[in-house]
Amino acid sequence: MSAAGPSIVIAPAELSAIEPVVGRRRRPREAKERGAISAADRKRPIVMVSMWIIQVAMFVGLLVAGLGPIAWSARASVSSSQDIISDPMGIWTAPPRWGNIEQAWNGALIGSSLGNTVIVALGSTVTTLFVSATAAYLLSVLRPRWSALLSGAILATLFLPGVISLVPLYLTILHMPVLNVSLLNTFWGVWLPAGASAFNVIVLKRFFDSIPRELIEAARIDGASAMRVFTTVVIPLSRPILGVVTLLTIIASWKDYLWPMLVLAAPSLQPVSVTLANLPNGSMPFAVQMAAVFLTIIIPVALFVVFQRQFLRGVSSAGGLKG
């Protein structure tokens, strides 16, 4: 791999975790292997006691750090501004005020900006999947003579820090060269740049490389066109990795703040991250701001808790691809 920047190496453990689903039965779940502490160690009293203490301490620490802020924001979302500001730790027993939620959803436009966030995330995902899957298919399967040049040019952008193109990218959106249109205050201004991700192209290309060539050859001999091989062989086999790319794109666009703030300047188009950041400058009571914060937090948290198994597997395999 090149010298500069993060290199894309798939760790062996991850390779077996994500592989083309070619009529292969899922491997039986292995029993958990030992870590640094052996079974014999675990029987020693001192290890048992200290493990127990560390376990409880870690649990309390993670509970306070992980759940604490979310729980507090849940309670603050239905408290009065007066109570939150005068005694923030005492709001647990304060009388609930359910009106905050409704006021945040409609009055502070959190409901409609959550809708915008969903539009941004879905559109970015579609662009990313379309661009990186077609590019990966080109570089991995079709491989024209000039594919080395193209893949070099894509790879090179991986090693350039994003900061270098922030300002010129904004000016490009402001006035698209050749097309002479402005994407400012359109969702295209967020959707299209999301597709220019070298990381996703390379991840997908690596995955397509691991699809057995016999399958593709067989389809070609049966008379399938390159397009048909793409849609009926390669894409169905790649569902796991396409899922990971989708997950990463949705997370990234859900979290993004600077870019939508610049491109989607009109309040009616702003995703929830931008609307939320502007709330303290507005006239909304503090309790309504807290309700807005809670509404923004609870949707991804609820989705995460429901799909945690798939979520953590996807994210950790993506980490393996990144690391």
Partner: protein, 312 residues
Amino acid sequence: MSRTIDLDVAPVRARRRRRSIVDWYRSGGLTAVLFAVPVVLIFLYFSWGPVVRGVLMSVEKTNLIGPALWVGLNNFTYVLTDPGLPQAALNTAYYALLGLVFGFPVPILIAVFVNELRRYGWMYNLLAYLPAVVPPVAGILLWKFFYDPSSGGIFNGILGWFGLGPLPWLNSEAMAMPSLVLYTTWAGAGATAIIYLAAIGGISPELYEAAEIDGAGIWSRLWHVTIPQLRNVIFIMMLLQLIGTFQLFTEPFLFTGGGPNNATQTIMLKIYNYAFVNGDYGAATALSVLLALFLCVLSVVYHFITKRWSPS
């Protein structure tokens, strides 16, 4: 393609060209071009184009209306002589250092610990990952309130139970940056721990067994087996964290706006202010180019240093 030694060259060449276009089409040349269109267009507009344009703009003066003027290195000298630059650079480096010293080990510790659990490991994972799914803007607004410097603030209230504080948090020059690091560690540790956990899962148990037979205790097994086995992941995560922290924007922008008294002014905030507050795109791109160059040099140097430390 076979070579022909024909004397009347012209018709042969024409025939050959016709055939080569047909060949090109039959061998899927047109399909390949069709598949290349989306990626080439998107990268031209949103990746390659802006990078080239950024480098060009750093040596030009433009107001977006008239034609751009070549100004040579003027933008660079303007940026480098900006009296605020040394402070911003030092702040950014300070943030990166604090992040490495205090933030970096946290996910490793969580991952090593969770890996030793035989039951309920998923619960620890779930709790540690929760902050990572909180959208950054919501997390920052929440923490900004937690950091209330009065003795009634949440963090100061908790410190008060132990007879500590109250601390000024974001209001003091000395504590503002550590407060940002505390927040980013909270927000990022769980997500990074998952990556380490996957890497730890790939360590072969035989290594631990061999170490145990040789008489190594639990701590020395962790120190001499787990950490060296994670070395490559640690190196890459460290570089990614460095690159990320040098481009820090959202946290100082929303927490402090660069204050108090420029104590959290970072390079990225300066770029933002040049471009979107002052409208000086030349200065903004010049500073971007400098930061990008610095990060590239950092990556290369880092690569060679870590390569020397690696066994092979």
